[in-house]
Symmetry: C2
């Protein structure tokens, strides 16, 4: 049984599981899942420390993985769920991939793409912001507090 908003919340919780995994591994805790036809086809979390690679953000890894799964560089039927507002690098990747929708949790007031231009995304890409934003944001706050 699916009620209104069930899917969005469910998939964001899955992205949060990925973010917790990042946290447990000492990575900035951001997680993402890519959904196509109500199925998760890719999951990832930030691995910039593990891979020593600044491009290894959750979204970039999830987009690459989703494209491999589908055998297509365009993800026009896909939605990406990510716990934090994407940076411009990731928003750029979401643009190129022509994703149908992006759903994100917490705002990133410093590095989020909306600080630059909302036109960065493809004009067909829908945006839903603020899903489980407190939980997504608190995990980030906790991570940076632990670091101090």
């Amino acid at each position: 049984m699916k009620g209104p908003g069930f899917d969005v919340d469910f998939f964001m919780k899955e992205a949060l599981k990925q973010a917790h995994q990042a946290y447990n591994e000492g990575e900035v805790p951001v997680g993402a899942v890519v959904v196509c036809n109500e199925q998760i086809i890719a999951k990832s979390y930030n691995m910039t420390e593990k891979l020593q690679d600044v491009t290894a953000h959750a979204e970039i890894l999830a987009i690459t993985s989703a494209s491999q799964y589908l055998g297509s560089k365009y993800l026009t039927d896909c939605t990406i769920y990510v716990t934090l507002e994407p940076c411009i690098m990731c928003a750029g990747a979401i643009h190129w991939g022509q994703l149908h929708k992006i759903v994100y949790g917490a705002n990133d007031e410093k590095r989020g793409y909306t600080n630059y231009s909302e036109k960065i995304l493809h004009n067909k890409t829908k945006v839903v912001a603020g899903i489980r934003k407190e939980e997504c944001g608190e995990l980030m706050t906790k991570f940076f507090k632990d670091k101090r």
Copy 2:
């Protein structure tokens, strides 16, 4: 013997070799090299078709490769040479990697990062534009003309 501008031109020619390789493989012809202490430590070209992955731009692949070579996600002593003005995805990656300098050839009037905001790059990153821009641009023009 090194004269003024020798290095910049030499390294851009190396990036152009990568772009020609992309062209020969039916990829949008953009090439990049990463230079550290006057040595090329990474080379790459656009592989979005081959890998069916929108994130496989020349710069992203070159940054990942340079970080693997150095064992460091920060490329503060590196210069990236790229035949085309980076898009926002790649400019974002160059920001995160804190590269010392970016040298590019042709402008990308449609998708180049300067169409959005020059603040996308790290404030320490120097920018040199227009090196061999005709040659870099003509290769792009030829590619899209062939496609028609």
